[in-house]
């Protein structure tokens, strides 16, 4: 599968966004979900995102700052759009403050961004 870097980055963004939306929705439904063990076996978006990440250069070191800014803002916009769609339909307890924190964490966990010394992300 020969795909250019930009295409792979877009696919990475799509999957990471999906996994963040999933995580935030899950957190908004604490008490309602206790039986997700069987479903956890479905291929998770985060795992797919990691597959794409491995194909994007530089694969072992963090991305240049311009890329990080672009990817981060696209993820945040996508996640916010998805969550706002749901809020407008009556979802409650969705913590939008989590979007940035989880995006930062995802970028660090996929080696897009380096963890800052002395911080949580």
């Amino acid at each position: 599968m020969a795909q250019n870097r930009n295409k792979l980055i877009e696919l990475f963004i799509s999957n990471i966004s999906n996994s963040i939306v999933h995580e935030i929705l899950e957190k908004s439904m604490i008490g309602e979900i206790i039986s997700d063990k069987y479903r956890r076996e479905l291929t998770a978006s985060f795992e797919i995102a990691k597959r794409y990440r491995e194909k994007i250069n530089p694969s072992a070191t963090p991305f240049p700052e311009t890329d990080i800014v672009y990817i981060k803002s696209k993820i945040i916009n996508r996640v916010m759009a998805e969550l706002n769609t749901r809020i407008s339909k009556g979802y409650k307890n969705i913590d939008l403050d989590l979007v940035e924190v989880l995006t930062e964490n995802a970028l660090i966990n996929t080696k897009i961004k380096r963890r800052k010394e002395g911080t949580d992300f």
């Binding site: 599968m1 795909q3 999906n18 899950e26 309602e32 206790i34 076996e41 479905l42 291929t43 978006s45």
Partner: protein, 267 residues
Amino acid sequence: MELIGKVSKGSRMDQIYIPKNRSGFGIGNYVVIKPVEDENEIKTYANKFYFYSVRGIEPIKIKIISEVMQIICNFFNKYENIFIIGSFLDKGFSFNDMDILIITEEKISSDLINKDIERKLGIKTHIILMSNKEFIQGLGTDPLYQMALSKCISKNRFLYNIPHIINYKLLDLHLLKSKTLIDNFDILSGNEKYNLVRNAIAISLYLNSKKISREAVDNEIKKRFGLKDINVLKNNLIVKKSFLKEYKLMYDKLFAKILLGIKNGSK
């Protein structure tokens, strides 16, 4: 192989019934019948299984299940039930591993049990442990649980009378997993694609109050995507363009229906 049975009265001859699903005791075989002298022996042999929608299973599989159950039981002081689910119960030997659901309140590492079974029997198992509360909630709200349990072998009797609850938010969360397929067709394996489609179809059938079983879901997939055989999808031989067009249409409709459900405040 030994079985225990009860002599029952017939009109012309008395008989002893033995289960259709068994290892050994083939049709035409001669057997020896002898009375059970010790009452405790009845309890020892009473470790029969309950079959749900499993019509005809290879005797060797029954033997494997029996040994696997034995190993699992040794890990627990108390368990509610043990279910064998998934492709192991399908005809033939094309399964990857044996899916096992253990309902227990005890906290034991499933890896430990998986490894013990593999060491003793050389069989790969995929064990999921959950409490009774988790199990009942899953069965009441999650179509995938219903599908898995629609065909199973269990250690104890299993009464399937848990009311269906449509929780649109939960279904939204479940459906979100199937969204992955739209953008990632090229990178996903056939089995991964099949699992994601199956998830969405099961949700669709659930919302339409239709029966959810593995056969029903597979038939719906075949019908919707014009497949002659479900293995076309599992073996990753699907035509991308036409498949994705139909899948996206189905996904969007389903998502809109769920959002409408949330908007209407029904749970």
